[in-house]
Amino acid sequence: MHAHPARPVALALAGLTRRFGALAAVDGVTLDIAEGEFVTIVGPSGSGKSTLVRLLAGLEAPSAGRLLLRGRDITGLPANRRPTAMVFQSLALFDHRTVGQNIEFALKMKGVAPKPRRDRALELLRLVRLPEDYYGRPVTQCSGGERQRVAMARALASDPEILFLDEPLSAIDYRLRKTLEVELKELHQRTGKTFVYITHSLEEAMVMSDRIAVMRAGRFVQVGSPEEIYRRPVNRFVAAFMGEVNILAVEGGVLSGLGLAVPDAAGPFAVLRPEALRLDGGALGVEAEVAQTLLLGSRVQYHLRAGGQALIAEVPAGGRALLGPGDRARFGFDAADIAWVAE
């Protein structure tokens, strides 16, 4: 679980634990986050990711473990004295204040004079691509996407060393969310800051992150690049969490549901991505009957039955006529497409 070797560690989590009674919401989490890295902590609800980010921001005190910011122990430092900032799931904008007053809040707390405060706020409005005349507008008059940007600007105002983002896009509709994901990624590149992003959506994590930590029951199950997590999940939980996937039990080197022998079987379960099953080629293959055809746009998803085994295949939609329910075809794949997992 080591950070990018070439960059210094910005934030080190060492055995961070938070117990609520008998339950450990965060259970001994260890991770080094590199300077300028975009790390996403992803997990289902109840996995402890929100508690974890509250520990990082100082809104919650850990029961055990340490937190080091650029080598300095900040475990006991309260939120208002940590040089980090957080974008809340609810955004938590100050509705009784204007856009400008919201953005300037952290600077006001630092005792910065009104004039430089205002200059910085206008600079941030430009950074998050909001018109400068929004400065005097009540935040209650802003749309969802604009509020999102105000929250980002507010968190960035005091030039925090790390930015925590706790599912800030979860309340936003799909199309706007896609736009904001890209903008957030750009903002990360423009500011060069370390971002720690919390989400339950793998899709979001994949688009934005340098590294993803998959969390389950208070622990990190796997930490790695989006590609590593996608191609080499460590267990069935991670594999299934990363989207629709075929998980096949293996007995004696044979994919038991399909009755298909595979060379070099390296685990009791084979994970096969839907896009690995294709209509042409592949050293291995199964004769399958189409149960359902779902056109997703550029790709088409087939729900298949092969013997007693249900399979999902996803192939490019162009080039050939779609198969319909009841059609039979050979779906091929290679042994290299399989990710083997132990549990």
Binding site: A57, G58, L59, P78, A79, N80, R81, R82, T84, A85, M86, F88, S90, A92, L93, F94, H96, F105, A106, K108, M109, K110, R154, A155, A157, S158
Partner: protein, 280 residues
């Protein structure tokens, strides 16, 4: 046919307000312009009563009432803020019990409660002084029959009228806004000033108004716990109407109290989003 029923539905309340709110004010205001010590509404209009109000020393009881009401409001607010915050955030299932304990005395006659307080504060053999003397051999004086006694009575009686609106006010402060302020570097005092106070302001304003207006018109606290240490304006008005049989003078003093009340209430009410409180 008009489909707008509003005016008709409002008629009963309108009649009620006209008969029991507007009419008495008009009568009192009219009486205040009658010649002194007359009992008719048909005399020649005069401002003699108002001139007398400021010439014969009535500004002192008016001042005591206003000061007492202002101090009561301040002390109640200072006591009720932490109470409301604790009840809302950390009292858990005890919140209901404590709230009920604070609310219950409202159902007991104010005079009974004040006489109870009087027994409690009685010097020598009073409950407080007697107990301290018997158990700890500590001798204490008494604030009974003093201005402080009257103020304690005012705070004691009016505390719930500050607390309950303030509970609504404190409930209007979302916890995540407080956390956001802390995260952005605000200490305790800054969180209070920048977030809690402005967001709870509607409830606090209503509480202050209720407390101030009720305390301004209060009489029993000063009479029972204050003794003769202080004469409040309501006592002076009562005395004009009853013993002095000078209704126009009493009416003029009443109009002055109403004017003070209006001067405080209207500016505050204009700034309070009542809709927002009620919808919560």
């Amino acid at each position: 046919m008009s489909r707008v029923h509003g005016p008709w539905f409002a008629l009963p309340v309108g009649l009620f307000l006209a008969a029991f709110f507007a009419a008495p004010i008009v009568i009192v205001a009219w009486y205040s312009l009658m010649p002194p010590r007359t009992f008719e509404l048909s005399g020649a209009l005069t401002t003699a009563n108002y001139r007398a109000a400021f010439g014969e020393g009535y500004e002192r009881p008016l001042m005591w009432s206003a000061l007492g009401a202002a101090l009561t409001t301040l002390v109640c607010a200072l006591l009720a803020w932490p109470t409301a915050t604790i009840l809302h955030r950390s009292a858990g299932r005890w919140a209901g019990v404590v709230t009920a304990l604070i609310a219950l005395p409202i159902f007991i006659s104010e005079s009974v409660r004040l006489f109870g307080m009087s027994l409690f504060l009685m010097p020598g053999g009073g409950i407080l002084a007697g107990t301290l003397n018997a158990l700890f051999e500590v001798r204490v004086g008494s604030i009974l029959n003093s201005r402080l006694g009257a103020l304690v009575g005012l705070v004691y009686i009016h505390f719930p009228f500050m607390l309950f609106p303030l509970l609504l006010g404190v409930a209007m402060v979302p916890a995540d806004r407080i956390e956001a302020a802390r995260d952005l570097g605000a200490g305790r005092l800054a969180v209070f000033r920048e977030v809690e106070l402005p967001l709870a302001a509607p409830g606090l304003s209503i509480g202050c108004l209720l407390t101030f207006v009720l305390a301004l018109g209060a009489n029993a606290e000063a009479a029972i716990l204050g003794g003769r240490a202080v004469t409040v304006i309501t006592a002076a008005i009562e005395q004009r109407f009853n013993y002095a049989q000078d209704w126009p003078m009493g009416a003029a003093l009443t109009v002055l109290v109403i004017a003070v009340t209006a001067a405080v209430v209207f500016p505050v009410l204009a700034r309070v989003p009542l809709d927002r409180i009620i919808r919560r």
